[in-house]
């Protein structure tokens, strides 16, 4: 019996455990005094020191006479969940990433290193990127939704959610992070290079990444695959129309009895890897990886906002996220297009739509083609070609509906945040010239 693993609920054990353990409170303390004691390694002295000192890394069980470390690390580094912030200055990967993204010098390397630490790697919110990612996600989602609202004011809400997911969801942000050349560490820890993305596949982290309410029946919705209405999605769910998962519970409650017995055979300190050990991982591990990459991109935007301000963050989002191509036409799916078009014409007080045959060829052959146009009065609303009259009429109706929904006032239409310029840079004149954007009166049919 297959059972869907609920990774997001598997974190409660960790959260409940960590106040009593000694390692995690240590992470809270390590920022100030240890950072000051860290010896800065210079190229001239590193070789000499490595010879003279006794091996310092016995805590992870590595024989360092056989496997010498690539970098001289301060003591007890591998006991930490994430690398020390001061090591960011020595990482070549971080400096290269900073230069590759053309980030402003106002953004320090330590902040960039923090954006690479996922909440699953380091549960301490003072050292992981969850706060920056939350800030960045609000900025990205604001600019994306504003762009869609102004440029495609008639998008139905479910298509709008799909477009938001396609432009600013985890999958496109994951691809953006990949295109930036982000590499991930195999296992997070204090000894890894700070320029690598650190996330754990075994302990999914807990980070709040958006607004929304947890529905009271979310368990039943997930279990029975209930449909959620678009109106309730607007009220309850997050920016992408996805149900907000419930706050984490004890993962034991979710497991099958068989799995519990299996897990009790092992000690509690070693959690079971819940993924198949293939080279590409399982669906869950790919999802976790995608989430970690997306949170990194959001955190970079958040860091940009925190250090460089609103305009820089906006231009960064515009250049990296909003500039991606999204085929909006393919997001549509209809059930009764002719009926929907008739309702549109009735609402807008157009003449009722009439299907007319424009041309045809090979009616008695094996592969006929009919071209049907849909007319309202003397105006053609849509046109479609199909192998049967019915098919061609449906295509023409869908074409007309898409032409209605994908109305755009033009590429150069301004969004409200364009008016937020600084006051001393002629912001007053920009504000004067603002014209209200077109806002559609609402949905045509309830979905």
């Amino acid at each position: 019996m297959m059972k869907r693993l609920r990774i997001e609920r598997a974190t409660g054990q960790l959260l409940a455990a960590h106040p009593s353990t000694t390692s995690t409170p240590g992470a809270a303390l390590r920022s100030s005094h240890r950072a000051s004691q860290v010896p800065v390694r210079h190229q001239s002295s590193s070789a000499v020191e490595a010879k003279s000192h006794t091996p310092l890394y016995e805590e992870d069980g590595t024989d360092h006479s056989r496997f010498p470390p690539l970098e001289k690390l301060p003591p007890n580094t591998s006991a930490l969940p994430s690398p020390l912030p001061s090591r960011a200055l020595q990482s070549a990967k971080l400096a290269a990433l900073h230069a590759r993204l053309s980030l402003s010098p106002k953004i320090p390397l330590q902040t960039l290193a923090r954006t690479l630490v996922d909440a699953s790697a380091d549960p301490n919110p003072q050292f992981n990127n969850s706060s920056l990612a939350f800030l960045g996600s609000t900025i990205i989602n604001y600019h994306a939704s504003e762009w869609f609202m102004v440029h495609y004011p008639r998008l139905p809400m479910d298509v709008f959610y799909a477009a938001m997911t396609g432009l600013a969801g985890p999958a496109p942000l994951h691809r953006i992070a990949k295109s930036w050349g982000i590499e991930s560490a195999a296992v997070p820890g204090g000894e890894v290079d700070p320029g690598l993305l650190q996330f754990s596949l075994e302990h999914p982290g807990e980070s709040v990444l958006g607004f929304g309410y947890t529905r009271t029946v979310v368990g039943k919705i997930n279990k029975n695959n209930w449909q959620r209405s678009v109106a309730s999605k607007v009220i309850y769910d997050d920016d992408f129309g996805q149900a907000v998962p419930p706050p984490s519970q004890q993962p034991k409650e979710e497991n099958n009895p068989a799995e519990e017995e299996e897990s009790e055979e092992f000690s509690e300190s070693v959690p079971l890897p819940k993924f198949s050990p293939t080279s590409y991982g399982s669906e869950q591990t790919r999802e976790l990886s995608e989430k970690a990459h997306a949170n990194f991109v959001r955190a970079v935007v958040g860091a940009m906002y925190a250090h460089c301000g609103r305009e820089a963050a906006k231009s960064f989002v515009k250049a990296h996220v909003l500039s991606r191509h999204l085929d909006l036409e393919r997001l549509f799916a209809f059930k009764h297009p002719t009926l929907e078009l008739a309702m549109l014409c009735a609402r807008e007080e157009f003449d009722p739509p009439v299907a007319r045959l424009l041309s045809e060829t090979g009616r008695l052959s094996r592969t006929p083609v009919f071209v049907v146009g849909i007319y309202s009065g003397n105006d053609k609303l849509g046109e479609g070609a199909g192998a049967t009259l019915e098919q061609a009429r449906l295509k023409a109706a869908m074409h007309a509906l898409k032409a209605w929904y994908l109305y755009s006032p033009g590429e150069r239409a301004r969004v409200p945040s364009d008016m937020l310029g600084d006051e001393d840079e002629g912001g007053a004149e920009k504000k004067k010239s603002w014209e209200p954007v077109y806002v559609d009166i609402g949905e045509l049919i309830s979905r």
């Binding site: 393919r330 799916a333 059930k335 739509p353 003397n378 295509k395 074409h399 898409k402 032409a403 755009s408």
Partner: protein
């Protein structure tokens, strides 16, 4: 055959053919290959001699041909883009509507310009007239009592009082009847499920596959994939 032999590659093939046995399967395609004879050459060449499209011929009478630049507009036939909003769909505030440019920009939405000939819309044949809302009877004077009566009739005897007969009786559309009342589940099963289920039992694998494919094609059509 002399035309074939005059080509060097063909001669090599013939040499090979003479050296090897004629039953070699490798040579079978060359034996079956059709060769063009001298008698048909001129005919084929004449068939391929197609005059260019009229739009590519520069008109000597127009003044623009005397200059160096001539604009040729002859796009390939393709499905219309959904991003070209018809003039009727533009909101009142849109500058394209305010500029009063329908005759220039939206000529295709007003008249069908096949071969750039304006066509009278009313001369085009309509299809599916019976399903069109334009031809549906519009009786907006039905009262609440009428609707109650419609419901009572339909629920009492759904076979006798079909949707179509009720629509004719009350002078409204079929859709309105279906909005007002739904027949009971047992009637729907009896009419829509049971006869088809019996027929489905008799389907062979080919027909079943064809029906499934047809359904899949319809779903793809609704998603805009074909």
């Amino acid at each position: 055959m002399e035309a074939t032999l005059s080509r060097p590659a063909a001669r090599c093939c013939c040499l090979l053919k003479s050296t090897t046995t004629s039953s070699t399967p490798r040579l079978l395609p060359s034996q079956q290959q059709q060769t063009r004879q001298k008698s048909t050459r001129a005919r084929h060449k004449a068939a391929l001699h197609i005059p260019p499209h009229p739009s590519f011929l520069s008109n000597p009478s127009s003044p623009s041909s005397s200059g160096s630049t001539t604009l040729i507009f002859n796009p390939p036939s393709s499905a219309p883009s959904v991003f070209q909003t018809p003039f009727k769909f533009l909101p009142k505030s849109d500058p394209r509507r305010r500029a009063n440019l329908p005759q220039n920009l939206f000529s295709s939405s007003i008249t069908t310009n096949f071969a750039t000939q304006p066509v009278d819309v009313s001369s085009l044949p309509t299809i599916f007239d019976d399903r069109s809302p334009a031809t549906a009877p519009k009786n907006h004077s039905l009262t609440k009592e009428d609707v109650e009566e419609m419901r009572r009739l339909r629920l009492a005897d759904p076979v006798e009082n079909s949707v179509l007969s009720l629509a004719r009786q009350f002078g409204c559309s079929v859709m309105f009847v279906m909005m007002c009342v739904q027949a009971g589940k047992e009637h729907r099963d009896k009419v829509h499920v049971e006869p088809h289920a019996a027929a489905r039992e008799r389907w062979g694998p080919k027909k079943r596959e064809a029906k499934e494919e047809r359904k899949r094609r319809m779903d793809m059509l609704m998603r805009g994939e074909i």
